[in-house]
């Protein structure tokens, strides 16, 4: 699957939280939220106004962009474009090295070779009108441990 942005359903970016996340993507950064409370430390995805564990305020951290496939499926039937033209493709839950999971595609890979536990790394693709940049994942070229800025 190569990323075809034409006619892809896009997120509505109309609130400050969503805006901040996708501004990060446009800079090439995969942002993750962390609880701002000194004792909680919870990290989460998708981004929200509050920490889902304690209800307190959150702050952004720049994620490593690395993770592993927690579970996945190979979509072999989707009647809506642009997906119909890209069959078969991989929809996966990516467990980020920072902890939270997010849905994405694993691209640049033969779907038959994807496995649970496979290390992956983020890459980004901008919409044709330049308004949104989306995170996608592909098999990691080199596996380096730890977290932090890429």
């Amino acid at each position: 699957m190569t990323v075809n942005m034409d006619r892809r359903p896009l997120p509505e970016v109309a609130d400050p939280i969503t805006e901040e996340f996708f501004a990060g993507c446009a800079r090439g950064e995969l942002l993750v939220q962390e609880c701002a409370g000194s004792e909680c430390g919870h990290r989460q995805f998708y981004p929200r106004w509050c920490c889902t564990r304690c209800g307190g305020a959150v702050r952004w951290i720049v994620g490593s962009g690395r993770g592993t496939v927690h579970t996945y499926t190979v979509i072999r039937q989707n009647h809506a474009e642009p997906f119909r033209s890209e069959l078969p493709f991989v929809v996966a839950m990516i467990e980020l090295d920072e902890g939270p999971r997010m849905m994405s595609n694993v691209t640049d890979v033969d779907p038959e070779t994807v496995t649970i536990g496979m290390p992956v790394e983020v890459h980004f693709a901008g919409s044709d009108d330049g308004s949104v940049t989306l995170p996608f994942f592909r098999p990691a070229r080199s596996v380096s441990p730890g977290t932090g800025a890429p």
Binding site: T18, F45, T73, V91, I116, L134
Partner: protein, 406 residues
């Protein structure tokens, strides 16, 4: 507002009587293929048949519940209450997908016990097959190029389909517990056997495990025959007090225990892809009923996909977590087996117009009355109905029996 002779006093009509909540009337509309009805027509026909079934006059209904599903402002609870002209003093429009009706039973049971209302109607109707064809599970959620709001904005760009969400749960279950495609296929095979006994089922030709595994892969590891059918259909049931049920046409089906909760809505927020909220609601429903899984004679599980039913077997305690695959291997789920499941043919082979939860309750009541004809389970005294709404998101568990609770 109320017809002549109608006593609208709060709880006065049956005060002092036995307020144990019971199901007294059930009805199904024409199914599985009914091009002569629209969704609202299914609601109406099912209501008429439920009223005929128990002999209650319509004006005695003083509560209504429904989940809609036919589009905004079409057949949601308040619109259907208006359309049917139900003079209600209690209304529940809980809409959590296909399990909404199990949530409704929990709510109505409490409302009836508390005297908020006496006699509650629940209806559902859908012309999904006639209106939309067979592509529900793989047509994609969004129109090309659409801007998506809310929590699904974090999923929409990636082309997942409804089946894909269940497929990810199945994939993880296989990874953690060694569950095999043959195990899931066995559930489809046993359910199809039941459908072969039901003249109103959509697909009645028996199938084999190989038939399932050879059917088209839709979203790995789920094949076409791991997926429920798309049909038309509707259902209705009427709940009242044990007191009012005494002189009605049918013997009552008692609500012994009910519980319902959700663990997420969008699939990407499911924390444990091998465990649903039935692991919470199930034990609570059993505790309220004073029963254990060993007491259940017939299972009505929302089999949207084979994996859905397998997870329920584990989460409700019929077997241990991870052991669902081997558990289903030896025919336990068939009529005559130890755990007969969906004897009507279920969503996998009989009827699935979009939200199957109401059929679980209607079919369970039919079994407990001994009126299921060619697919009757012998000595069915306690039944469980477990609905799943959304994407393994909202689980409602109802225990029903044909004897009054102790």
């Amino acid at each position: 507002m109320f017809p002549d002779g109608y006593d609208k006093g709060q709880g006065e009509r049956m005060a002092g009587g036995d307020r144990t909540p019971v199901i007294v009337g059930i009805g199904l509309s024409d199914a599985p293929i009914a091009p002569h009805l629209d969704g609202v027509g299914h609601h109406v026909q099912a209501m008429q048949r439920a009223l005929d079934d128990c002999g209650l006059p319509k004006h005695e209904i003083d509560g209504y519940m429904g989940a809609g599903g036919g589009g905004p402002m079409v057949d949601d609870a308040v619109n259907m209450a208006e359309y049917l002209k139900i003079e209600h003093r209690w209304l529940d429009g809980t809409m959590v997908g296909g399990s909404s009706f199990e949530f409704h039973v929990q709510h109505a049971a409490a409302a009836i016990k508390d005297g908020l209302c006496d006699t509650v109607l629940c209806t559902y109707g859908s012309s999904l097959l006639t209106k939309s064809g067979r592509m529900l599970g793989s047509k994609g959620f969004h129109v090309p190029g659409q801007r998506v709001a809310g929590s699904s904005k974090w999923e929409a760009p990636y082309g997942n389909v409804l089946i894909g969400s269940y497929a990810m749960a199945a994939k993880r279950h296989m990874h953690e517990y060694g569950t095999r495609p043959e195990h899931l296929a066995q559930i489809a095979v046993d359910t199809r056997y039941h459908a072969s006994l039901n003249p109103n089922a959509m697909y009645r030709n028996p199938i084999t495990i190989d038939d399932v595994l050879d059917s088209k892969m839709i979203a790995d590891p789920l094949h076409k025959l791991d997926c429920c059918v798309v049909s038309d259909g509707g259902g209705a049931f009427i709940m009242t007090t044990a007191e009012r049920a005494r002189d009605l046409k049918q013997s009552p089906v008692y609500v012994l225990g009910a519980a319902a909760t959700s663990s997420h809505w969008t699939i990407s927020q499911m924390e444990d892809f091998t465990t649903t909220a039935a692991a919470v609601a199930g034990p609570e429903a059993f505790r309220r009923a004073g029963l254990t899984p060993a007491d259940v004679d017939v299972l009505h599980f929302y089999d949207s996909f084979t994996i859905t039913a397998l997870l329920m077997l584990e989460d409700l305690g019929f077997c241990k977590k991870g052991e669902g695959g081997p558990f289903v291997e030896d025919g336990k789920l068939r009529i005559g087996g130890s755990h007969p499941m969906n004897p009507d043919g279920g969503g996998l082979s009989s009827c699935h117009p979009g939200m199957r939860g109401i059929f679980l309750l209607v079919e369970a009541a039919r079994q407990l009355r001994g009126q299921a004809g060619p697919f009757q389970v012998a000595d069915a005294n306690v039944a469980i109905a477990c609905g799943s709404g959304g994407w393994l998101s909202c689980l409602g568990v109802v225990l029903l029996g044909n004897q009054a609770p102790a």
